[in-house]
Every structure is written in structure tokens, then in C-alpha cells.
Symmetry: C2
């Protein structure tokens, strides 16, 4: 069978690779050592569970632990064994590099056509392979999506490792941080384009198109996520076939993803370049949030407490309401821990990458604003990752 040529919107199936042997090409390249270290951390975190193996099938967990980012149309799997080795089951052919000791393949495409029974095909390869590995009594899996093709055939106790994986994902490694920073640099370019083009009478769809293009140029490749909010004169929402109006505020909450890692930050731009006194006063109050974050956030600080403190700051605004979270972690999913939110009890820890997005909304503000910065928690404070203009004009 011919191998497939199509990359399926996964621009980096053949990521440049940094291995311990040889020199680093770029901090954005695949770092197999980092993937191996994450495998080890997963085992450490699950030490009490006495698992014989861990099977992951979600694309982002395979990327996290093994390295390559597979396309959404494929159904790979990875098995980590308690002896520290790992096996990847890849679609069609082995990737150029992977943090795996063994790589098997399943037939994802026949003469290039994607099969609709890929998960079964991958599972069949996996089950056959496990026969050669001896009895596995206890296996960690992702409960949300673990295929019945596997669970009905495996004579093993299955333990949910998804919560543990999400806990581990919270602390970003240097290779992850590099990709997050690149994703955020994309948003910087997008706001530059936005500030150039926004005026009354501009189509939201044209703004969307121009900003997406700016991110693609910055990344030098397709985005792996397009989000977030492109509706003008609204709290949020997708771009519409609608023209911006004089006097409105345009909340641009941008969340493009680079090689799987999601940026997320927000600027609000006065469409006519002349914010009203009320809009400007509101902006000044919202901006106090960031000074407070810089002053107070360090490892050990309660996220819920920070949320409540910012509720206090924003309540000083003469008009408008703040009625959503203050922020959240970012990474391989748009929202991760830590949660700057009264519904969770997280505490900041070194290595967190999080957003702070205070907002105030009111019809008189046409119709409000949200400002959002990204931060890394360091040993004794925070580093601002979105250090670019934040004004209304």
C-alpha cells in the first residue's frame, strides 16, 4: 500500500528533534529527554497504584509523553510499562523520532483513504502485542475515552490516570514553555495588526482573517488552534458578518495554538480610537488587577483568595459587572489548572503558566472590556509572558 502523503492539518508530524545525543536545534523542537522525564514523573505520581502499565490514546497525552503530535484524524496509542520502557503504536509508519523503545504501526489508511475503524485497528495491534508481554494485572488508562475494543478484551483492572495526567500537565517543562511563548508571540503580532486595522466599519470576519494570517506568518506554519473571541461590541463570540460601530469596544480574546500549546490573552480596543471617560476610567480600574498580581502572586498563594481580592478591586468600578473567572492555566488544553476561580481551591506553584483576565461589562461601556495577561510562576514571584501594549488605543 502506498503511504499517505497527507499531513492532515498536523503541521509537525515530522518535528525537528532534539535528542540528548547531538546538539539542540531549537528550543521549539521535539525534546525526547523531556518526554522521557514526563513518563518518569507519571510513574512517580502513580507509585502507590502499583500499575503494570499505562495506556494512553488521547492525542495530547501521546504528545506529552512520547513527543510526536499526531493528527486528529488518527487513532494512535502508547503503552508505558512499569520497567520504564514505552511502546508507541503509530498510524501507518513510525515517526522520525519518539520517546519510545519500540514503535509498532497500525494501518490507518489504505491507499491513502482514512479508515473509519482506526481505533479498532490500532486496538487489534495493541492487543496482539500485549500477548507477547505477559500478564498485566493492573493498567492505568484515560477513562473518558478508553476504547471498548480494548477494555472488553483486557483481562485487567483498569485505573483512571486522567486526573493524574492533568495534575502533571500543570507544571510546564522548558520545552512546553518555549512553545507557549511562541504561541503568545503570535498573539502579539495579531494585536499589532488589529490596532492597525480596527476602525468603525470594519468587518469582524476581515479582522479574524487578518489576525489568523498574522499568527500563521509568525509561527511559519499552520496554527493547531484558532480561538477565541472576535465579536465586537459583545462580551465574546466568533466573528460575524457584521461591521464594527463607532463608540464600541472590541474585545479581542486570542487563543491560537502552536504545535498543540494554546496561548490565551486579551486586549480591548476602542473602535474609534477615542475611548469615553467612562471607558477609560474602567480601564484604569481593570489595570489595577495586574499590579496586584505582580505584587502578590508567588508559590503558595491561594488562587481563590486572589480571585476574591480582584473582585474587591473591580467592585470599585462605578458601572459594570465582573461575572466570570479571573483566569486559568494554559497548555495542551485551553483551560487547565491552576484555577483563579472561586469554584476551585488551587494554590499557585512554581512552573504554573496562567492567565489573568479581569473584565467589566455594561451597556454604557458598549459593552465592556476584558484585559488578559499570561504569567509564569517563578520561585519567588511571576514573570509576565505577554509584555506588549494593553491600552484601549
Amino acid at each position: 500500500m502506498a503511504l499517505p502523503w497527507r499531513f492532515w492539518q498536523s503541521p509537525r508530524t515530522s518535528d525537528p528533534v532534539y535528542e540528548s545525543i547531538g546538539e539542540a536545534m531549537s528550543e521549539l523542537d521535539l525534546n525526547l529527554d523531556a518526554s522521557r522525564a514526563r513518563q518518569q514523573r507519571l510513574w512517580n505520581a502513580l507509585a502507590g497504584a502499583e500499575l503494570d502499565a499505562i495506556i494512553v490514546t488521547q492525542i495530547e497525552h501521546i504528545q506529552y509523553l512520547i513527543g510526536p503530535k499526531f493528527a486528529w484524524v488518527h487513532s494512535p496509542a502508547a503503552i508505558l510499562f512499569a520497567d520504564g520502557t514505552a511502546t508507541l503504536i503509530a498510524p501507518n509508519e513510525a515517526p522520525d523520532a519518539a520517546a519510545a523503545d519500540e514503535i509498532l504501526t497500525y494501518e490507518a489508511q489504505w491507499l491513502c483513504t482514512l479508515r473509519n475503524d482506526q481505533r479498532q485497528a490500532c486496538s487489534d495491534v495493541l492487543l496482539q502485542y500485549l500477548k507477547s508481554r505477559g500478564k498485566l494485572g493492573k493498567i492505568g488508562v484515560e477513562y473518558s475515552t478508553f476504547s471498548l475494543h480494548l477494555s472488553q478484551q483486557l483481562d485487567a483492572t483498569l485505573i483512571d490516570v486522567e486526573p493524574t495526567l492533568y495534575q502533571l500537565r500543570r507544571k510546564k517543562d522548558p520545552d512546553e514553555l518555549a512553545r507557549l511563548k511562541k504561541a503568545i508571540t503570535g498573539t502579539e503580532r495579531m494585536y499589532e495588526v488589529a490596532r492597525d486595522m480596527i476602525r468603525p466599519g470594519v468587518s469582524e470576519l476581515n479582522v479574524f482573517n487578518a489576525l489568523q494570517a498574522a499568527a500563521v506568518k509568525e509561527y511559519g506554519e499552520m496554527l493547531t488552534g484558532a480561538g477565541n473571541d472576535y465579536a465586537c461590541g459583545a462580551k465574546g463570540g466568533p466573528p460575524r458578518d457584521r461591521l464594527t460601530q463607532d463608540g464600541e469596544l472590541y474585545i479581542l480574546d486570542l487563543g491560537p495554538a502552536f504545535r498543540g500549546y494554546f496561548a490565551d490573552n486579551c486586549r480591548t480596543i476602542a473602535v474609534n480610537g477615542k475611548p469615553t471617560d467612562e471607558q477609560q476610567q474602567t480601564w484604569e480600574i481593570v489595570m489595577q488587577t495586574f499590579a496586584h498580581v505582580t505584587k502578590t502572586v508567588r508559590p503558595g498563594k491561594s488562587c481563590k483568595e486572589l480571585f476574591q481580592e480582584v473582585v474587591g478591586i473591580l467592585s470599585a468600578a462605578p458601572i459594570g459587572v465582573f461575572d466570570h473567572h479571573l483566569g486559568h492555566g494554559i497548555g495542551l488544553f485551553p483551560h487547565e489548572a491552576p484555577h483563579l476561580n472561586s469554584c476551585w481551591d488551587d494554590v499557585f506553584a512554581e512552573g504554573d503558566v496562567f492567565t489573568v483576565e479581569p473584565g467589566i461589562y455594561d451597556e454604557k461601556l458598549r459593552f465592556g472590556m476584558r484585559l488578559e495577561n499570561d504569567y509564569l510562576v517563578t520561585a519567588d514571584g511571576v514573570e509576565l509572558l505577554s509584555d506588549f501594549p494593553i491600552g484601549l488605543t
Copy 2:
């Protein structure tokens, strides 16, 4: 808790709706009658299995059977009962309309923050709800992705309905055909832009950006899929930070999706506007494929036979190889049945929407071409859905 404002790249969570009561707004709107009819067809197809219920959790099957297209970041579920009723479990709040008799919700977001345990949250609501419905002995589910949160709690025999769903998806309903045609109209605009801008020295990334923008403008909203091939002087692949070269052929295989439905067709453009004699001769041979399709394809024709016939046609080319499928169905996934491919044994049937994509590749052609049209199988032949220019210039 505040409801989330963010649409999460799902531009149509609030699709305009066409219900049997009231007038059709547009053939592109949600058609709840069509969803109900699909539910009934699913029951008919599974009549022999004597299921008490069917649970679907994949986004595209919920769209197919219930109507709304939920965002990829959410984890909804739908239950069809043997009495013909349906229940939807939606993230956060009930959608404006759904082909469901009952709508429950699960908390997907708290104060706007997406939970990472959504599948469990949705499953908990579903399990609690099923307690009130009495014993379900036999339930149809999607084996690929059915949550262990559910399968470990349901005291029922689970039957895989995914193959049946894919079979049903093959025959397109009028509401699906309308969206596919809209998706294809997007590609028509994209090729117009491509023909205007392609010349030696154009960046593949700029081509990608301009063509994506053209589709967004045509659809009047964000795409729900961005594919496919934007690499020049290559068989396929994503756009690169690379300039087109004099003498190359640019294979543009475009697969944008509109409200979940994927277009897929291809044009090949001579970068310098002056194809060589060899390139032009190859084009003429490839084009014979379409005449053959129009002449021979009707319900009952073997897809594999067609594939072999086209292999014969293309073998007349003096140089180059054809080494992939001839085509495939399109719909809610980029590749569906029928398979114009020697690895399957499909037979054309009325209602199929399929692609025909002959190609010939050789270094002397720098480096080959692929042409692809989309067709609908009618009662006695085919209707060309991609009736726009197909020349090399």
C-alpha cells in the same frame, strides 16, 4: 454560576432552526425533522439487535442525530430510546433547538472555566437520569470512545453501533447536501483567489492565508475544518515558509468544512502560467477520468471496478505514477464510504457524495498533478458538484 459566553470555535451553537412548524429559513439551517428521520433510520438499521437504547457521545453523531454541533472542548451525550424518544445532555445550557424530547445539562464550565473532568460530569448526569428510566438490558454505543465512567456503571450488554452509523452517514440527506454544497462553494472561491495570486515567488503560507480568508468570507463564519494540501512542487502537505518556483505545479487540494461538513476537491495550477508540453499532455490524460466517471457511474456500479478502469486510463501517461485511491465519500469526516479504492468492495448507491481524484506524479512534471471533482450519485447517474475551472492555468 455565570453561563459561558465563549463559543469555542463552534460558530453555530445557536444555528437558525427549521422545524416542521413554521417556514424554512434556509436550507443551511438546522433541520430537526431530518435529524428525527435519521434517528428512525438508525433504529430501522439496528432492528435485529433488539436494543433498549443507543447512547452517542461523539460530537459528529450528536450533530447527525440531534442537530446542534457542539464544540470540541465539550463532552455532550445523547440517548435514543427504543420508544422513539431522545434525550440530550448538553454542556451548560440547553441549545435553542434540538431533535430531543428532553434536554438535561451538565456543568461543563464553572464561572466560564472549562472543566477537565467533563466526560465524567456528563456521565454522572446520564447515569442518574437512566435510573429513572428503568432497566436497560442492551445498549448500543460507539466502541471507539465510550467512556469507562459509563461502561463500568451500566449493568447492560453493550453493542457497537459505530459501523452502522458510518453506513447510514453514507447516504446524504438534503440538509447535509446543502451544507456540503456550501462547503464546496467555498473551494470555488479559494481557487479563484489562488489563480489570481499564484506566480513564481509566492509564499505557500500567504497562499494558505488568502485561501482560508476567501472561504471564511464565502461562508460568512469561521470554518470548522481547514485542510488539506498547500505545499507547492510536492504531492501534498501543509503550507511551508517556502516560495513557489518557476516551472513547478502547485497542487491545491482543498478541504474546508462548513458547519461540520467537509468539502474536498483539487486543482493543479502551473506556477508560471505556462505548463510544459509534458504537463499539458498529462493533464489531458488525467481529465479523461472525469469523462469516464460521468459516463459509467450510477447506482450499482462497483467502486473497485471504477478504480481499476481509471488505473487503465492513467497508465497511458508517458511518464509518472498513480499510486493512491481514486476517491472516497465526504461528509462529517474527511473520508467516508463509498471507497473508490481496491481495498474495499463498495458499490455506488443513490445519495452518495464522493470525490474522484486521479493524479500522476513524476519529477519531470515538477512534480505532478492531482485533479479532484465532487459528485452526487443520482437515480441514474451522477451530478457534478464542483463545476468550476479545472485547467492548469
